[in-house]
């Protein structure tokens, strides 16, 4: 029997424990640069096996409790999603799709846990104008630092997965932290620990890929020929990955992007536009400077004044 992965191999510590993630482990810091980290942490990943997910929302519940958020009590609008979308108080959301498989004629209830994918090449971080509001650790966690966040919403525009949400209360952006506070003391994220069917696992990215392979093999043996791992290369891979039974059609899972990448518009904005902008403004200023250097100020001569006086006299 294969050993089964278990996120929670031990319970959280209650004695004071040194956090194992520090500023020195940053590989990226929004709108600023960081010195190359002295050590490389083992990249971590959360693996979400959609084929094992029963849509129970334990992940949502555990997320609310661990992060002490307070999402609103909404209404039923004819679907199982509640809250109806990710919110600044709901970092993860089960999305439900009833899909008729045209091949088998069978109904499939595809349930995907939505939330931050912790991209290797994070669009949010790229877009962020506030120094240090978004950081990336060498283990792959992309985290928001609220005291540095200015609430501009650029991260929303940068994100290829539509994840960050701005709080109406403190006007800062929120999303899944991959429970960086738990990971820093050797615990897995709260959602992964809670997940009743181990549809969510957490470990090193390498281990998670190995686990995914065994799951894909199992799914293939059950007739899901296109089962596969969703670790999109367009964003350099992600530290939250999915095992999909239909990896050839990620969009059937509540519009999971087929080939996510940072939007070219965002790239243009954060790349070309900056250079162009500075160049243009610099040129304009330089032109003025040059002009004033070579061309003396345009002065009104006394002659001009006299002409004007003459004109006025003539007319009066």
């Amino acid at each position: 029997m294969e050993p089964s992965p278990h996120t929670a191999t031990s319970n959280p510590p209650v004695a004071a424990t040194a956090a194992n993630l520090s500023e020195r482990d940053l590989v990226r810091r929004s709108a600023s640069s960081v010195p190359p980290p002295a050590r490389q942490l083992e990249p971590v990943a959360k693996l979400i096996d959609v084929s094992k997910c029963i849509g129970c929302k334990a992940c949502q519940s555990a997320c609310i409790e661990w992060n002490d958020t307070n999402p609103a009590i909404e209404t039923n609008v004819g679907v199982y999603e509640n809250p109806h979308d990710l919110t600044p108080d709901m970092f993860t959301l089960m999305r439900f799709t009833e899909w008729d498989n045209p091949q088998t004629g069978n109904l499939e209830w595809l349930i995907r846990k939505d939330g931050c994918m912790h991209c290797e090449d994070p669009g949010c971080l790229k877009a962020c104008p506030a120094p240090g509001a978004i950081v990336q650790y060498s283990n792959g966690i992309v985290d928001f630092v609220h005291e540095n966040c200015i609430g501009c919403g650029y991260c929303i525009k940068g994100c290829p997965f539509n994840i960050p949400r701005i709080s109406k209360v403190d006007h800062t952006a929120y999303k899944c932290t991959l429970c960086s506070d738990r990971v820093s003391v050797g615990q897995g994220p709260a959602c992964a620990k809670a997940c009743p069917t181990h549809a969510i696992s957490f470990g090193t990215k390498e281990d998670m890929k190995t686990l995914a392979n065994s799951r894909i093999e199992d799914l293939k043996s059950r007739g899901y020929e296109n089962a596969g791992l969703y670790d999109p290369p367009g964003v350099g891979g992600t530290h939250v990955m999915y095992v999909l039974h239909h990896n050839d059609q990620p969009e059937i899972y509540s519009n999971l992007p087929r080939d996510p990448r940072i939007s070219p518009v965002v790239n243009a904005w954060k790349g070309m536009a900056k250079y162009l902008g500075f160049a243009a403004m610099g040129l304009a200023a330089a032109a003025g400077v040059l002009h004033s250097a070579f061309v003396s100020p345009n002065r009104v001569s006394s002659e001009d004044e006299e002409k004007a006086e003459d004109l006025v006299k003539e007319k009066t």
Binding site: D68, A194, T210
Partner: protein, 199 residues
């Protein structure tokens, strides 16, 4: 009471191959904790752990309640977090959406805090003391039992039955509460005695 854990035994038995190596990988070398600004201070630090089981369904998942204050030392204990007990063989730390939110059941706004009484025809509950409530209950019971207790049937056989008062027992109380309830209710002769198992 044995609240000691034998975690080692569990780890060995539970086959944690993948995860074992996983956790090893997080175990970064010792370093002075220069906590990143992004990272919340670990909120369970210096809390008291207590083992319990989930009160909802019959899977009876193991849970750990984290509190500020230690009940066993006679202190007031406020539960600040509840999560699954990784040592528990059934749930291994996992919890369903209900179990994962147990803290908010314990601290629900609609938890009852004082005995209340509603008078016949009244449209409100009024606060009463425990003494008043319990004395009233005992009096109501005694009066009804005295009036309606059936000691023998028509054939003269002792039947010692009290049918005009009923008792509906819970589904989430402990065995010990259930047993004490059994003793108290049975000793009165109440026969309309049932519990949630019926439905």
């Amino acid at each position: 009471m044995n609240m000691e854990l034998s975690r080692r035994g569990f780890l060995k038995a539970a086959g944690v191959g993948v995860a074992g190596s996983t956790l090893g990988a997080f175990g970064f070398p010792e370093l002075e904790a220069a906590e990143a600004a992004a990272i919340r201070p670990f909120k369970l630090t210096n809390t008291m752990e207590t083992r319990n089981t989930c009160p909802y369904c019959s899977v009876a998942c193991g849970i750990i309640m984290y509190s500020k204050g230690d009940l066993r030392k006679g202190e007031t204990a406020e539960i600040v977090h509840i999560e699954g007990d990784a040592d528990h063989p059934t749930n291994r730390g996992t919890l369903c959406p209900k179990g994962a939110a147990l803290k908010d059941f314990v601290k629900a706004e609609t938890r009852l805090k004082t005995p209340m009484m509603r008078k016949p025809g009244s449209d409100k509950f009024e606060r009463v003391s425990w003494e008043q409530a319990l004395d009233r209950i005992a009096r109501l019971m005694k009066d009804d039992r005295d009036a309606n207790f059936i000691a023998t049937n028509q054939a003269g056989v002792p039947v010692n039955r009290w049918t005009t008062v009923g008792f509906l027992a819970a589904s989430a109380t402990t065995n010990e509460t259930a047993y004490l309830t059994y003793k108290v209710v049975r000793s009165t002769g109440i026969v309309a005695f049932d519990n949630q198992a019926r439905v």
